[in-house]
């Protein structure tokens, strides 16, 4: 009974607590839903274990006069053991199956998407917009703008050591690995500016390897691309001074 109450309180708490940063991509909604399912499945198990421990301590602790007493010689119970092997197996396979559904949804390639290059180097991120977006030369920028409501595939590279390109508001990261190109995609669905974090130790400046992703309307995105490419016949490049200044 106590266990049921504690479970209920735990699950309610799990919805009250604000665990995550804002959700700024469709993937974030999925991942957060997965997290809540996991918490709902976990709370009863933790409560069960703790309750049995506390109940045993309360009920079966040695009372005075029992110093030489032993418990009943119970060696096991096959049905119980099969039960607590089978139930967790089914539960775990169910959860991991559900996580694959979410994974599939999160990584599904949509009909239309834009590609943005991401390059990590000690200790700065740069972003490359292909001709298909700029309409002219490729754009290499310290700033990252993406349009709202359109799937973006990030093609991630590294010039030196391993970094990790992480946007907590999107709930996605992937390492930038020298020698290969890695990818992840997200569909931003909330206008705003969110941190981009390097999440793999890359040297002495790792803590400061930060950037910002700006999710803007389609119109503003086009305007920003135009402003970056205007007057630049070759590869345009925003100077370091402009990195992170606009918001």
């Amino acid at each position: 009974m106590l266990g049921v109450i504690a479970t209920a309180i735990g699950i309610v708490l799990s919805f009250v607590i604000k665990w995550f940063p804002v959700q700024a991509s469709t993937q974030a909604h999925n991942t957060d839903r997965l997290y809540h399912v996991l918490v709902i499945a976990s709370v009863p198990i933790f409560v069960l274990v703790t309750t049995v421990v506390l109940y045993s301590v309360w009920q079966f602790r040695m009372k005075s006069g029992e110093e030489l007493k032993d418990g009943p010689p119970i060696h096991g119970n096959t049905r119980l053991e099969v039960f607590w092997t089978a139930i967790p197996t089914v539960l775990l396979l169910g959860l991991v199956g559900y996580s694959f559904v979410i994974l599939h949804d999160n990584e599904k390639k949509p009909a239309r998407e834009i590609d943005v290059g991401v390059t990590g180097q000690q200790f700065v991120w740069t972003y490359q917009y292909p001709r298909s977006i700029t309409g002219g030369a490729t754009l290499n920028s310290y700033q990252l703008y993406v349009p709202e409501g359109e799937s973006v595939e990030f093609n991630i590279r590294s010039k030196d050591v391993i970094h990790a390109f992480w946007v907590p508001a999107f709930r996605i990261q992937e390492d930038a690995v020298p020698g290969i190109t890695t990818h992840w995609r997200a569909t931003p669905d909330r206008i705003g500016s969110y941190p981009v974090v390097c999440n793999l130790l890359c040297g002495v400046g790792h803590s400061l390897m930060r950037s910002t992703i700006h999710v803007v309307t389609q119109a503003r995105f086009k305007a920003w691309i135009a402003s970056q490419t205007r007057g630049a016949t070759t590869t345009a490049s925003a100077g370091p001074a402009s990195a992170g200044t606009s918001g």
């Binding site: 665990w19 995550f20 940063p21 991942t31 997290y35 996991l38 976990s42 198990i45 933790f46 274990v49 703790t50 049995v52 421990v53 045993s56 079966f60 040695m62 030489l68 032993d70 418990g71 009943p72 010689p73 119970i74 060696h75 096991g76 119970n77 119980l80 053991e81 607590w84 092997t85 967790p88 197996t89 775990l92 396979l93 959860l95 996580s99 694959f100 979410i102 994974l103 991630i156 030196d160 050591v161 391993i162 907590p168 508001a169 709930r171 996605i172 990261q173 992937e174 930038a176 690995v177 020698g179 290969i180 974090v197 999440n199 793999l200 130790l201 002495v204 400046g205 790792h206 803590s207």
Partner: protein
């Protein structure tokens, strides 16, 4: 003096180390000179000398102190000294500072050495928390900070967690299986002395030019390939710690397989023996992989092999696969012996047989087998082939099943028992709750989309500390208190022990629980500064962690004063049935004056008239039934 320099010991070790340094300098000079001016600007190069010296000087120390004497005599055809057992037993503190072949002495050496590095690693953690108390603080600079968390993790994994269990096992296992010693006592002595060597190499890196190794205990290439010379200390130190692990594991396997007392079938072995058997299998199979990973890095660093240089055809991800093929089984190496300890403590303190003994043993073996199939769950965001995530997520989920069986079996063992709630039991019960939490967060991390968000964040830091601190360390404390009377012949202070438990339990949760939230909210690990939104929780964690650090003082005070002047312990203070409790505390030099014969299971509490072992020719005294028979 000349005699001292010839006899094995610290004087000879010092002399040989000087020789090794001279040899190293000469060797690098000759090699550099012979390969010509064009390649090397200088014949004498500090980094080259240091790299070779890191291998040669520790070996010279080990030879000098006498770790190889017997084998050298044998190999060179000289008469070996017949074993006169002068290397057995410890009669003064000095006996702990020489090559000693007594498993009980080696066990204590292991434990004291491990706890020394626990204190050092813990102090380093305090320095890190001081830096992290506020965002943007300048308590230490970024490079030093990176060095601090790298050395913190390395010391606590390779110089505390792994060897401390080997220490407990070393002391207890021969006693538990009714053997006079380990199978290979000289190998046992050598495997201990490799550890302080490895530890001093790791700590010595703080004095290296460019600072300590600062790429995390994972030392991912290519960052570690291009790091300052401090990184070499890690690559080489791992070799010594790993060699020690492998030697001890082999020793455990042979001891357990061949030296069990008559009647001790595998299914009459106490679960700690089972646990060390399983762990040793993991160690022997997995440890060569981390040795390889660090040799790759060493060859890349010292000789430009380009294993991990992508521009020259190197494969960066391969490092991670090889590294985690050891380092995931390593987390089971760091918890399975703890499972064994908890099984011993709970059976004795609940006065009941372990519920489902055979399933407990089989689940250990299941973890060994599954433990080798999950390594890439550390690499869900590494850029490896996407499909690998699917099978690895499934195996990672499934490996929770045998662990769950163990937890449920312990709970069932508690049920209707007669619970003696003293310090070892409190730590065992505390372990069940905190480890369950760490296990649950582990299952969450097996879920790929969730892991993609929190991988390498403070959520991981919280998870690993719940598993290793809330899990392994709790079992270690339980084990140290439980066998303290047997090891020292003295009782610890029960009141201080309870204080130690409660303060540790409270502060560990206050310290590590909030880290889950930090990680979910987006705080990466391994950063010396962070966004101001995380300031409140970090300050809270720092304060709690200082409290957690202070609790260790209670433990230290209790252990030191009890060891020096605690009340004398009887041979079987807990009324345990396993064999180690049937001999005096501390045990005789050769463990058993009479060879025990095992006639029943190890946990037959509550079974009228049951005994685990009897001592021939004298049968066990009458009335031994309930508690087993103290024979001395």
């Amino acid at each position: 003096m000349a005699a001292r320099l010839r006899a094995p010991g610290f004087y000879r070790a010092g002399l040989y180390m000087v020789f090794a340094l001279l040899f190293t300098t000469a060797l690098t000079w000759i090699v550099r000179m012979s390969t010509g001016h064009g390649t090397f600007r200088h014949y004498i190069d500090a980094n080259a000398i240091l790299t070779v010296a890191l291998l040669a000087v520790p070996l010279a120390f080990l030879i000098g102190i006498g770790g190889f004497d017997y084998w050298f005599y044998w190999a060179s055809g000289r008469p070996t000294r017949p074993e006169d057992h002068s290397g057995h037993g410890a009669y003064s503190w000095k006996d702990y500072f020489r090559i000693n072949t007594d498993h009980k002495v080696i066990g204590i050496q292991y434990l004291v050495n491990s706890f020394f590095f626990l204190l050092v690693g813990g102090l380093i953690a305090m320095l890190m928390r001081a830096q992290l108390a506020q965002p943007g603080s300048h308590f230490v600079d970024a490079n030093t900070f990176n060095g601090l968390f790298s050395v913190h993790a390395t010391l606590l994994i390779f110089l505390f967690m792994v060897p401390v269990f080997a220490g407990i096992g070393n002391f207890v296992i021969p006693l538990m299986i009714g053997a006079p010693d380990m199978a290979f006592p000289r190998l046992n002595a050598l495997s201990f002395w490799l550890l302080p060597v490895a530890g001093l190499i790791m700590l010595g890196s703080f004095f290296a030019p460019g600072g300590a190794f600062a790429d995390g205990w994972t030392a991912y290439a290519p960052l570690s390939v291009n790091a300052p010379i401090g990184q070499t200390f890690f690559s080489v130190g791992i070799q010594f710690a790993g060699a020690s692990s492998i030697m001890t594991a082999l020793n455990f396997l042979v001891t357990i397989i061949t030296m069990r007392a008559p009647g001790m079938s595998f299914f009459r072995m106490p679960l700690l023996v089972w646990a060390n058997f399983a762990t040793s299998l993991l160690v022997v199979i997995a440890t060569p992989f981390i040795a390889a990973s660090q040799f790759f890095v060493l060859l890349d660093r010292a000789l430009g092999f380009n294993f991990f240089n992508a521009n020259a055809g190197g494969d960066v991800l391969m490092y991670q696969h090889v590294f985690w093929f050891y380092s995931h089984p390593a987390v089971y190496i760091m918890i399975l012996p703890g499972f064994g300890i908890v099984s011993e403590v709970i059976a004795v303190k609940a006065r009941k047989p372990i519920f489902g003994y055979r399933m407990m043993a089989f689940s250990l073996l299941a973890i060994v087998a599954l433990g080798f199939t999950v390594w890439a769950h550390h690499m869900f965001t590494s850029g490896m082939a996407a499909w690998i995530r699917i099978p690895m997520a499934i195996t990672t989920s499934i490996i929770a099943v045998p662990t769950g069986i163990k937890i449920f079996s312990w709970l069932a063992t508690l049920w209707r028992g007669v619970l003696h709630l003293d310090t070892p039991m409190l730590f065992a019960l505390g372990f069940i709750t905190t480890f369950t939490l760490g296990g649950i967060s582990g299952i969450m991390l097996a879920m790929v989309p969730f892991d993609i968000h929190v991988s390498a964040t403070y959520f991981i830091v919280a998870h690993i500390h719940y598993v290793l601190f809330g899990g392994s360390l709790m079992t270690i404390f339980a084990g140290v208190y439980y066998w303290f009377p047997k090891m020292t012949g003295r009782m610890y202070d029960e009141r201080l022990g309870k204080w130690h438990f409660w303060s540790t339990f409270v502060f560990l949760n206050l310290t590590f629980a909030p880290m889950h939230i930090l990680g979910l909210e987006g705080m990466p690990r391994r950063v010396s500064t962070y966004a101001s939104q995380f300031a409140g929780l970090n300050l809270f964690i720092s304060i709690a962690s200082f409290g957690l650090g202070l609790t260790t003082l209670v433990f230290l005070y209790n252990i030191v004063t009890s060891w020096r002047g605690g009340p004398r312990a009887v041979s079987n203070p807990w009324r345990g049935m396993t064999l180690e409790w049937q001999v005096s505390s501390p045990p005789p030099v050769f463990n058993f004056d009479r060879v025990p014969t095992v006639v029943g299971g190890p946990y037959e509490y509550g079974v009228p008239g049951a005994v685990h072992g009897i001592f021939t020719p004298t049968p066990a005294p009458a009335g031994a039934g309930v508690a087993g028979a103290p024979s001395h």
